[in-house]
């Protein structure tokens, strides 16, 4: 089978924020509005689902949908919507991205009945109550650890999301230890993008040389886990991680996401973000609406959005990103460029690569 067929086979990803309501107020959150305004009821959610399904069918593709919020477990329509999505051939897998604080035995039982669930993702911003709770709120660390253990005891794959900030960078070694000890399936350590509430704490952004040192450390730990056959995969398939790749000869050949670092920004390539009111964003952290599924078809948005076509053409990228040898394995984070410069085509301001 040729590689061109591989692109067609790849699933299309949706990150669907079904509510902005949340029981937490994390300091770095990309949201500022936690209200229910614009939120859709089950009938309208199913209309959006139908639009997704019919588009995937026209494309002859299948979809991965990550259901999130806000806190998605606050939305009573979440499980009915997931059951509706699961019942279709076009949806291949689903994930639930939660803050983890509301997961109990009753929720676990509902999760265990899902047929296409890939994982539940919970967030930790530190490896101790002190460091985590300073960002996510008092008592959240213990609640999330309880949720992780409950989910694991119920046979559910768990992913931990950690957002890298100046105040929690020192927790990374112990966080990796914690993830391994708890039998976490995957750990994602992602850069903080200063938008929403997070725009008030720009000082939490690390400098490029600091990013390089941290990514090198994480990469080394990720390789150690691979070499020892550990259960925990540490994700490195994001922009800038290619800088940590010691085996550049294999760039672009490994689709396992495990043995090499670096992944091109998916904006305009194979995924979209949907907000609670059906507004569509290129990525949750790039808050520029490119349509609304109440008025615009997915086909119209994907095939004719001016912003998506601008970003798809990598010749439009500016600064270091424009001529970078790693453009096909990175292209910088467009959300970070926009948050820091107001220009989503600007070079990634945290890139450590020298000109």
């Amino acid at each position: 089978m040729g590689n061109m067929d591989e692109a067609s086979k790849a699933d299309f990803g949706f990150q669907w924020h079904i509510t902005d309501r949340c029981n937490l107020r994390c300091t770095h959150c990309y949201q500022e509005d936690y209200s229910s305004s614009g939120e859709l009821g089950l009938d309208d959610l199913k209309r959006i689902a139908d639009e997704i399904i019919s588009t995937l069918s026209k494309w002859n593709k299948r979809g991965d949908i990550a259901i999130t919020g806000g806190e998605p477990l606050l939305k009573e329509e979440m499980f009915p919507l997931i059951h509706y999505l699961e019942s279709t051939d076009e949806i291949s897998s689903l994930d639930i991205l939660s803050n983890g604080t509301l997961i109990n035995d009753r929720i676990l039982a509902q999760i265990q009945h899902l047929t296409k669930l890939r994982c539940v993702q919970v967030s930790l911003e530190g490896a101790s109550p002190e460091s985590n709770d300073a960002i996510r709120g008092k008592g959240t660390f213990q609640k999330v650890i309880r949720a992780i253990r409950l989910l694991r005891s119920g046979g559910i794959n768990v992913n931990i999301m950690f957002t890298l900030q100046r105040r929690n960078v020192g927790d990374i070694p112990s966080l990796i230890d914690l993830a391994v000890a708890e039998g976490i399936s995957s750990l994602t350590i992602e850069r903080f993008v200063p938008i929403g509430s997070g725009a008030k704490i720009r000082e939490e952004l690390l400098l490029p040389e600091e990013i390089k040192r941290v990514f090198d450390y994480i990469s080394e730990r990720a390789e150690q886990e691979i070499n020892r056959g550990g259960l925990t995969s540490i994700s490195r398939s994001r922009p800038l991680w290619v800088m940590c790749n010691r085996n550049t000869g294999s760039l672009g050949t490994d689709t396992s996401h495990k043995n090499t670092a670096g992944g091109i920004c998916s904006v305009g390539l194979d995924g979209l973000c949907i907000l609670p009111d059906a507004t569509v964003l290129p990525c949750r952290r790039l808050p520029i609406p490119i349509g609304n599924l109440k008025n615009d078809s997915l086909l119209k948005i994907w095939h004719t959005s001016d912003l998506l076509w601008q970003i798809r053409d990598k010749r439009n990228l500016k600064g270091k990103c424009n001529s970078c040898e790693f453009i096909l394995r990175c292209s910088g984070c467009r959300a970070m460029a926009y948050a820091c410069t107001g220009d989503y085509l600007a070079e990634d301001p945290q890139c450590p690569k020298k000109d």
Binding site: G2, N3, E6, A10, F12, G13, Q15, Y30, S37, G38, L40, D43, D44, R47, W59, K61, T68, L97, Q121, S123, N159, M161, T188, E190, S237, R238, P239, G252, T253, H257, T260, G262, G263, I264, C265, S266, L269, D270, G271, P276, D277, A278, T279, L281, R284, I288, P289, G291, N292, K294, S297, I301, H303, T304, S305, W309, R312, K314, L328, R329
Partner: protein, 61 residues
Amino acid sequence: MGDKKMESAEKNVPGATKPKFRDTSSLSTEQLTDPDYALKQLEKLNRGRLPITCSKCHHCR
């Protein structure tokens, strides 16, 4: 889409601008029909190798 039953107050997305759509006459048939058009262009530039995208890591949380 565009069903009147779905009308509701839209959220104010900070920094929001009105979405812009390109005239379909400025785009090729492949661009207007193939969802993987951009991925395949990158694949060609990557000497036939499929680029790894970041969409599976849920970075947005």
